[in-house]
C-alpha cells in the first residue's frame, strides 16, 4: 500500500482527512463517555497520548519513501490548503501553544507584541520570498544561497546561520515535549524527554518531508481542536455565545472592574506597562523579519506544485495560525477573569485558606518547577501556604497580589481552573504535545537536510548515489535529535528566551541575502557573504554580550547594553548591518555575470520550467 500510495493519497486527501477528523471526534466522545462512567483519570490521559502518537507513527510509516524529491520536498505535490495546515503546525511550537496565552495573561497588552510579530511576518514571506524560492526549486535554503552567490562559501555561511537558529529552537521543543509528557503521563522528566524524542523521530525518519507534511496536517487538527474547545466552552458558560473571540470583550470589562476592586496597578489593556514602546516595536520587527528568515518555515513553501500555489499557501498558513493566535488573548482574558473573580468575590478580598482550589495544589506540587507560588512558597499543601502567609501578616486568607502563576501553566491548567472534566484536560495535553512534536520535526528536517544535502552531497561527495544520500540524512536526523535531547535534559534555564533569540539570529543572518538576491540584481557574491557574516556576528556578539557578558557567566557586571535594547530584540542591530554591508560591498565589487543576471530574471517570472534540476535520479 505504501508504495502505491502517492497517487492515491494526494488524490484522496479530502476523504482521508475527513475520516481522520471524524475518527478523532469519535475518540474524544469515547473519552468523554469513559470519564463519565468512572474510568480512572490516569487511563484517560494515557489513552490520549497513546492514541495520538500511534496515529502520527502510522502516518509516518505509511509515508516512508526512498525517492529523493519526496524525501526533501514531499514530491512537490502538497496543495496550498494542506501546506497551510502543515505550516501552521510547523510554526506553532510548544511555546506558542503552552506559553502564549500565559504571556498575555501576565503581560496584558504588551504580550500582544508576540501575537503581532508572529503573524505579520507572513506578509513578508508571501511578497518577498516564497514564490521566488519555489520557482528556483531548491531543496534547502543554503541550496539557494549557494547557487545565487556562486559557490560553497555562501552555502557554508548559510548553513552556520541555519544551524545556530534551528538548533536553539529545537532544544526548546524537545524540552517542551518532555515537560508535557512528564506532567500528563506522570513519568520522570529525564525519561519523558526520550519518549518525546521517539515521537519526533517516528514521524520524520522514514519519510522525510513527505511523512512530516502529512503528520503535521494531522497534528494541526489535533492542536487547533484542543486549543479552541476550552475557549469555546468558557465563552458559552459565561456569556452564552460560543464565539470566544467575540465575547471576551465582556471579560475585559469585568477584568477592568476587578482591577479597580483589587487595586491592581497594571491594567490588562493598558500599553507599555512592562515593555517600553521602543522594546515593543523592536520586538515586533525582529519577530516579523525572523519569521521570513527561518529555514524550517521557508522550506515548507518548496513543497507546493506551482508558484501560484506557493503564494496562496502563505495565505492559508497565516489563516490557520490566525485561528490560534486570535484565540490566545481570549484564553488569557477568560482565565484572568475567572481567577480574579475568586478574590474579588471573596470576603475581605482574600481567598480563604479553606477555599484554596484543588488545582492550585495539584499544579503547585509538581516537582522541579515553581508553577504556583503563594505568599512566596511553592503551593504544595494548605499548611505550608498558611504558615507562609501568616508570617507575612495575612490571617484567614491571602490577597490576589500574593498569588503567582507560571506563564507556561495557563493553557494547560485552564481546563482545571474552569472546572472542566478530565477528558478536556487530556485533549489539551495531546494538543500541546502535537504542537511541540510538529515544530521539532520541521526543525530537525531543516537541520538534517542542510547537513546531508548541502554539506555532504554538495560539498563533500557530489558523486554519492541516492541510497547513500538518504542513508546519511537519516543518520544525521538521529544524531541531531539525540544531541538536542541531551541538551534539553540539562534543563537550560534560558530555554524560552532562546526561542526568541532564534528569530533574531535568523533575521540578521538570512533576511538580507535572501531578499536582495531576488530583488536587487546587482548583489554580488562577496557582498552577500560579507553581509550575512556581519549581520550574524553583530547579533551573536550582542546576544552573548548582553545576556552573559564575555566571561560567559550571568550577572557578573560585564554585560553590554546598546541603546537599552533587550536581548530578544538583538536582530534590530544585525538586520540593518547585513543590508548595509551587502549593499556597500556589492557596489565596490564587479557586477554579477550576465548569466547570473539572466538567472535572476528567470527567477522573477513564474512561468517556464522550475530552474534547478536536481539530477536524473530525483
Amino acid at each position: 500500500m505504501a508504495l502505491s500510495m502517492k497517487g492515491d493519497f494526494t488524490d484522496n486527501l479530502g476523504k482521508i482527512y475527513g475520516i481522520y477528523v471524524g475518527g478523532f471526534f469519535g475518540f474524544v466522545v469515547l473519552m468523554a463517555i469513559l470519564s463519565m462512567v468512572g474510568v480512572p483519570d490516569r487511563f484517560i490521559l494515557w489513552s490520549y497520548m497513546a492514541m495520538t502518537i500511534g496515529i502520527y507513527a502510522f502516518i509516518g510509516i505509511m509515508s516512508r519513501t526512498a525517492v529523493v524529491t519526496e524525501y526533501y520536498v514531499a514530491g512537490r505535490s502538497v496543495p496550498a490548503i494542506y501546506n497551510g495546515m502543515a505550516t501552521g503546525a510547523d510554526w506553532m511550537s510548544g511555546a506558542s501553544f503552552v506559553g502564549m496565552a500565559g504571556t498575555l495573561f501576565v503581560l496584558g497588552y504588551d504580550g500582544l507584541a508576540f501575537v503581532l510579530g508572529w503573524t505579520g511576518g507572513y506578509v513578508l514571506v508571501a511578497v518577498l520570498l516564497a514564490p521566488y524560492l519555489r520557482k528556483f526549486g531548491a531543496y534547502t535554503v543554503p541550496d539557494f544561497l549557494g547557487t545565487r552567490y556562486n559557490g560553497n562559501a555562501a552555502r557554508l555561511v548559510g548553513i552556520v546561520v541555519l544551524f545556530c537558529c534551528s538548533f536553539t529552537y529545537i532544544t526548546a521543543q524537545v524540552y517542551a515535549s518532555g515537560i508535557i509528557a512528564s506532567q500528563f503521563l506522570g513519568i520522570d522528566f529525564e525519561i519523558a524527554v526520550f519518549a518525546g524524542l521517539l515521537g519526533i523521530l517516528v514521524c520524520s525518519m522514514l519519510g522525510g518531508m513527505k511523512a512530516v507534511t502529512w503528520t503535521q496536517v494531522a497534528q494541526y487538527i489535533v492542536l487547533i481542536v484542543a486549543y479552541l474547545l476550552p475557549a469555546i466552552w468558557m465563552s458559552t458558560v459565561q456569556f452564552g455565545i460560543p464565539i470566544p473571540q467575540l465575547t471576551y470583550g465582556g471579560a475585559l470589562s469585568k477584568i477592568a472592574e476587578y482591577e479597580q476592586i483589587l487595586g491592581v496597578a497594571k491594567a490588562h489593556v493598558a500599553p507599555f506597562t512592562t515593555y517600553s514602546p521602543k522594546d515593543y516595536f523592536f520586538l515586533i520587527f525582529c519577530l516579523m523579519v525572523g519569521t521570513a528568515s527561518l529555514p524550517h518555515i521557508l522550506m515548507r513553501f518548496f513543497t507546493t506544485p506551482t508558484v501560484r500555489e506557493a503564494r496562496k499557501s502563505v495565505g492559508w498558513s497565516l489563516f490557520f495560525i490566525f485561528l490560534l493566535y486570535f484565540t490566545a488573548p481570549a484564553y488569557a482574558a477568560f482565565s484572568k477573569f475567572n481567577l480574579m473573580g475568586l478574590f474579588a468575590n471573596a470576603e475581605g478580598l482574600q481567598l480563604a485558606f479553606t477555599a484554596i482550589p484543588q488545582w492550585m495544589l495539584n499544579w503547585g506540587s509538581i516537582e522541579g518547577h515553581q508553577l504556583v507560588t503563594i505568599c512566596g512558597v511553592k503551593a504544595e499543601t494548605v499548611m505550608a501556604i498558611q504558615t507562609a502567609c501568616e508570617a507575612k501578616g495575612f490571617v484567614g486568607g491571602f490577597p490576589y497580589a500574593e498569588l503567582k502563576l507560571n506563564n507556561d501553566m495557563i493553557v494547560l491548567s485552564t481546563p482545571s481552573i474552569a472546572g472542566m472534566p478530565i477528558w478536556v484536560v487530556g485533549l489539551v495535553g495531546a494538543g500541546g504535545f502535537a504542537a511541540a512534536l510538529s515544530t521539532a520535526d520541521g526543525l530537525l528536517l531543516a537541520i538534517a537536510n542542510a547537513l546531508s544535502h548541502d554539506v555532504y552531497y554538495k560539498m563533500i561527495d557530489p558523486k554519492a548515489d541516492t541510497k547513500r544520500r538518504l542513508l546519511i540524512s537519516k543518520i544525521l536526523l538521529v544524531v541531531v535529535a539525540l544531541a538536542a535531547a541531551f541538551l534539553a535534559r540539562t534543563k537550560p534555564s534560558d530555554i524560552l528566551s532562546m526561542v526568541a533569540w532564534a528569530f533574531s539570529i535568523a533575521a540578521a543572518g538570512l533576511f538580507a541575502p535572501l531578499v536582495l538576491g531576488v530583488w536587487w540584481k546587482r548583489t554580488t557574491s562577496m557582498g552577500a557573504i560579507l553581509g550575512m557574516t556581519a549581520g550574524f556576528c553583530t547579533t551573536m556578539y550582542y546576544l552573548i554580550g548582553n545576556v552573559y557578558g564575555f566571561d560567559l557567566t550571568k550577572g557578573t557586571g560585564d554585560e553590554i547594553v546598546w541603546f537599552g535594547v533587550a536581548s530578544i530584540s538583538a536582530g534590530v542591530f544585525g538586520v540593518p548591518v547585513a543590508f548595509i554591508v551587502t549593499y556597500l560591498v556589492s557596489l565596490v565589487t564587479p557586477e554579477p555575470s550576465q548569466e547570473m543576471q539572466d538567472f535572476v530574471d528567470r527567477l522573477r517570472l513564474p512561468g517556464g520550467a522550475q530552474m534547478m534540476v536536481q539530477g536524473a535520479d530525483d
Binding site: P131, R311, R602, G608
Partner: protein, 88 residues
C-alpha cells in the same frame, strides 16, 4: 532570455510586480507599526467591551494580514496573466 518572453515584457511585468510589492508592504507597515503608535488614544474608544487599541493588536491587524496576503496573491496572479508569464 529563455522561456520565449521578450525583455520588454519581462521588464514591464517586473515593474508592475514591484509596484504591487510596495503597496502591499506599505499596508503591512501601517498595520504592523503605525496604527499601534496611537494605542493610548484608540483605547478610549470601547466597542463591545474591547478598547480599540487593544483590539487592533489582538485581532484587527491580524485579520488585515490574512486578507492582505490573499488579496496580494490574486493581484499578482492577474499581473502574471496580463503579461502571459503565468504557469500553464
Amino acid at each position: 532570455m529563455s522561456d520565449n518572453i521578450s525583455r520588454e515584457v519581462a521588464e514591464a511585468h517586473w515593474s508592475k510586480t514591484k509596484r504591487l510589492m510596495i503597496i502591499t508592504l506599505v499596508i503591512w507597515a501601517f498595520f504592523s507599526f503605525f496604527i499601534h503608535f496611537f494605542v493610548v488614544q484608540l483605547n478610549n474608544i470601547v466597542i463591545l467591551g474591547f478598547p480599540l487599541g487593544f483590539y487592533m493588536a489582538a485581532q484587527g491587524s491580524l485579520i488585515v494580514f490574512v486578507v492582505l496576503i490573499f488579496w496580494f496573491a490574486s493581484r499578482q496572479n492577474a499581473i502574471d496573466e496580463e503579461f502571459g508569464v503565468a504557469e500553464d
